[in-house]
Symmetry: C2
Subunit: 219 residues, 2 copies
């Protein structure tokens, strides 16, 4: 094989690993919120235990990406692609941490009936999960349109977050007995909002990779 | 100059830029909490406006670090050092975002008297700020001991966070009129706790850079 084909093959393999890591994180987000909605402590514990694998995979992929730079000395677009890969796995790893944060809330409030059925929180989780999926898809296909669309979903998550925030505040004010649990749920909403931000980082990194333009500098 | 000296000079310059970015972030954390404690809306607005410069500096440093890889094709330790630099600025940028989050709280609760004088929150800010400083110092000096010590401070911040959390919850339960502001302060404490986590990421990256060992995989 030519050096070029060697490089492409190695990068391709690593991108598949990144996709695999992405699926694990998507799953963790889904399971964490599911564990909360159903008060399933076993599922919450599985999310917490599973984070070890996600972290391990991150360090493994990162080491392999850095080795690829060192051995193949890629330049320009190839190099950018690898650096983007490193950024993506960093963001994925952080989302995984927040899935754990959510699972911990499940364990903390286990046994108390939920102050309300969860509607907007699972919706936030669903959108965030889709964002992760689309962001990784945009990365492997260099699909700027998909990346931009995906980033735009962040507004929806932010909107749901404000809604949940106001609603929980109302609960707390009307019935102080709900305060402890409502505060925990408030944090869950915030974790999901951050997860969507991390997904947005992925989309923005893809846009920069493909177009060389910064889509958003958080200005 | 030899290629080696060229490389060292370029990396050195970039590390100084990273230190400059670090000072800006430290300042932003300090000012954000100061604006909250003194209810100084102008200062809060300056923190919010200043984030643009931090974000801009991040992208500029990153571009230059990637260009350095492309043009000098460093291997082994040199390459790792640059990748660590990229990770550090990503973490710094996120801390800056949280400083903005805190400044936004100042603006939101402006005009309402504080439900209590802030003690533990400024203390959390102070430790976090020190962690940032020490982390960057450990990076430029490859000082593993300092990096380890710095990471150990994260426990102190976590401890203060739990303390603030419990205290604010008590306020809310005793007087529902405090709920809105107490919730905002709860988030401030959480932002600071995250800032300390980002600082810890820097310390761990330095430890990995120097020793090749993962100090903590969040296991």
């Amino acid at each position: 094989m030519t050096a070029r084909r060697n490089f492409d093959k190695a990068l391709n393999e690593l991108e598949n690993e990144i996709l695999r890591m992405g699926s694990m994180v998507e799953r963790a987000i889904y399971d964490a919120v599911e564990s909360l909605a159903k008060q399933d402590v076993d599922l919450a514990q599985r999310v917490i235990n599973g984070d070890r694998d996600i972290n391990y995979l991150e360090t493994e992929i990162e080491d392999r990406l850095v080795t690829l730079i060192a051995t193949q000395q890629p330049i320009a677009r190839d190099l950018r692609r690898i650096i983007t890969g490193i950024k993506i796995i960093t963001n994925l790893e952080r989302m995984g941490d927040h899935a754990v944060d959510i699972a911990r809330v499940t364990k903390r409030i286990a046994g108390q009936p939920l102050i309300k059925p969860l509607v907007d929180i699972p919706r936030m989780a669903k959108i965030s999960q889709q964002m992760v999926k689309d962001g990784l898809d945009a990365y492997v296909r260099s699909d700027v349109e998909k990346a931009k669309y995906m980033c735009s979903l962040d507004d929806e998550v932010d909107h749901l977050y404000s809604q949940v925030f106001r609603e929980l505040l109302t609960y707390m004010m009307e019935d102080p007995k709900t305060i402890a649990q409502a505060t925990s749920l408030l944090f869950v909403a915030r974790f999901l909002e951050r997860i969507a931000d991390y997904a947005t980082n992925i989309g923005e990194a893809v846009i920069y990779l493909v177009t060389g333009e910064r889509f958003d500098l958080n200005l």
